[in-house]
């Protein structure tokens, strides 16, 4: 990498600069050295904490290592772990549960977040105060949120069932959120939406504010109906921002661990066992390091692909 850095800089940057501003080369460290010195610590840290362990994990994913039996000699099993995972119905079930969770959470967040952004964008009095209030949940620790929702959603002592009962007349102790096979998946969706709707809202709001007034004025001159203006101007202009929010939320909910681990810890049964929770169980409860390394690599590749698309979306929004 060092050779590339030097050659590239000397061609692209130093040579033309040196002609116009010779002073830069004379005093102090050269730009090339500084760029190198400034970027290296970050790259070195990430190599040590992320890349080196990742490579180690790739190696382990081809072994049958089990940390609870670490005294056994390391045995290489080729692609067995990967084959086991991909042919395991349980894993596919967990992936399905995760996919449903992502789909439901992100859809609700988009609808609520976009709607709220439209409302806030009307700039009623006090809108900035209320916006700050709405933003609070997304700043909290997901673990702490998951923990206190277990109290709120508790059927007897928690207030949630009573609020539902007040508005619908259903007896408060006739249903339970966290312990119920049908409702538990919706509970984690609800808490996720409670936390992250403001995220989508904030980004949509930025999209709405990026639309110049003159476009609406022109539409008004052309006598476009408000409905038409919404679908032909607002929606397409906000779309790049919305995509940004959707991609990021999809990645984050796909790898969700903390909130759900504390709220339902995967139960009842395995109805809310997201793939990260399965991974944690395989790695840190059953200590199947080889197997869980392979599963982790599969998740890595998925997130890496999604992150790639996300960064492209980021750059597109940046250019606006």
């Amino acid at each position: 990498m060092s050779a590339m850095t030097q050659s590239d800089i000397s061609i692209d940057r130093i040579a033309p600069q040196a002609k116009s501003r010779p002073v830069r080369q004379v005093r102090g460290l050269s730009d090339r050295t500084i760029a190198w010195l400034f970027v290296m610590p970050t790259i070195a840290l990430l190599l040590a904490i992320n890349i080196f362990p990742l490579i180690w994990m790739i190696r382990l994913s081809f072994t049958s290592l089990n940390l609870s039996m670490a005294y056994l000699p390391l045995r290489f099993v080729g692609l067995d772990n990967y084959a086991d995972i991909l042919s395991d119905d349980d894993i596919w079930n967990r992936l399905q549960i995760t996919a449903r969770f992502v789909l439901a959470s992100v859809s609700i967040e988009v609808v609520l977040g976009f709607g709220l952004a439209l409302m806030i964008n009307r700039q009623f009095r006090g809108h900035s105060f209320w916006t700050t209030v709405i933003l609070l949940p997304m700043m909290l620790s997901p673990a702490v949120v998951g923990n206190f929702w277990t109290l709120l959603a508790q059927p007897q002592i928690g207030p949630f069932n009573y609020v539902v009962s007040f508005f619908t007349g259903i007896a408060p102790n006739s249903f339970t959120l966290i312990g119920d096979v049908a409702l538990a998946p919706w509970t984690i969706v609800m808490v996720d939406a409670w936390m992250w709707t403001p995220y989508v809202m904030l980004i949509c709001l930025a999209g709405l504010r990026s639309i110049p007034d003159y476009i609406y004025e022109a539409a008004e001159v052309d006598r476009a109906s408000p409905w038409r203006q919404f679908w032909s101007i607002t929606v397409p202009m906000v779309m790049p921002f919305l995509m940004l929010a959707v991609l990021f939320r999809a990645i984050e909910t796909f790898k969700m661990f903390d909130m759900v681990n504390l709220l339902t810890s995967g139960g009842p049964g395995s109805t809310t066992e997201l793939v990260s929770i399965s991974l944690k169980r395989a790695a840190f409860e059953k200590w199947r390091t080889g197997y869980s390394s392979a599963l982790a690599i599969i998740l890595f590749v998925t997130v890496f692909g999604a992150a790639n698309i996300y960064v492209k979306a980021l750059n597109r929004v940046k250019q606006r």
């Binding site: 002073v23 005093r27 409302m119």
Partner: protein
């Protein structure tokens, strides 16, 4: 709605009626969304029996028992034993004894809070220093493969923490870094540095190059120009970045629960395991949650203007 308003108002400005409607909807949502937090803050002032009352109590006699229970370990004693003790010296002694209990010592909450603070500030400081240098380099110099490097830096942050924790656990075990402050600080620095580089690059990009170039012509070296021209202008950005890093470290749970168990445990894995007699001690848990969340609320208010940047890695600037 709009037809009536077009004459009196500018076309893009919403009519008073639609504004009022929007206001009502947003305020309603805000009240609903904040209610759970208020409930928890209130639960911290309930007595343990009020906290698990059936049906739940909206009105109750406030008490500081939750906070006292959070900070102490208590043992249940017979009334005779308590009567034989010298008189209670403090209000919290009296409060505990009125429930036939005696304070046996401080709980672990203070060391856990200190861990959160040490690890939070340590990792934030390192991430901001590394991030500022990296961001300056990416902003001002042509670095080969800059886009790929920036993507690599960001992608490390997006990886699932449980998956990252598996090899980190093994590596830390070899290096004796499991459950140590240093290990957690290094790990959180690595996660935060990616955000710091991206955010600060955005902030530094906005500082006109002309200032530095003028300083260079005046005979400053690059490093002097960075220290005396760029850094003072980037102070707001650096502060905002630091707060974002601090919030991440403060809130992080997955690494903390998988890689720490005692010495270096932070608040998030600790709070759910505040146990009283017969299960979770809800007033104490709520008290811990309140104390834990208050700094975040203050930071959110401080960060209002920069939140959008923070959550989009600097891409959206409003």
């Amino acid at each position: 709605m709009t037809s009536a308003s077009t004459t009196a108002h500018s076309i893009v400005e919403a009519s008073p009626r639609s504004k009022a409607l929007a206001g009502v909807i947003v305020i309603l949502y805000a009240v609903v969304t904040i209610a759970p937090l208020l409930w928890i803050a209130a639960t911290a002032f309930k007595s343990p029996s009020d906290a698990i009352a059936y049906p739940p109590k909206v009105l109750f006699q406030p008490t500081l028992e939750g906070y006292v229970n959070l900070f102490t370990i208590r043992t249940r004693q017979t009334p005779d034993f308590i009567a034989s003790l010298p008189p209670a010296q403090t209000w919290y002694d009296r409060l505990v004894r009125s429930h036939d209990m005696v304070i046996a010592g401080p709980s672990k909450v203070v060391p856990r809070f200190i861990n959160s603070i040490v690890i939070g500030f340590g990792s934030t400081f390192l991430a901001v220093v590394l991030g500022t240098l990296g961001a300056y380099a990416f902003s001002r110099f042509r670095i080969p493969l800059a886009d790929d490097l920036l993507f690599f830096i960001l992608s490390t942050r997006m990886m699932p923490p449980v998956a990252v924790a598996i090899p980190i656990y093994l590596m830390f075990r070899e290096l004796n870094l499991n459950d140590t402050h240093l290990g957690m600080i290094l790990l959180y620095t690595a996660v935060n540095v990616s955000l710091a580089v991206w955010l600060l690059k955005g902030f530094i990009d906005e500082i006109p190059r002309e200032y530095e170039e003028a300083a260079l012509v005046d005979g400053y070296t690059r490093l002097q120009a960075l220290r005396k021209v760029v850094l003072p202008q980037a102070v707001t950005g650096i502060a905002a970045t630091a707060i974002f890093c601090l919030i991440f470290s403060w809130n992080e749970y997955a690494f903390a629960v998988l890689l720490t168990s005692g010495t270096a445990q932070t608040m998030p894995p600790f709070i759910p395991f505040i146990i009283g007699e017969g299960g979770q001690d809800w007033p104490a848990v709520a008290a811990a949650t309140t104390l834990f969340v208050v700094p975040i609320v203050l930071f959110t208010v401080l960060l209002r203007k920069h939140l959008l940047r923070g959550i989009t890695f600097g891409a959206v600037r409003k």
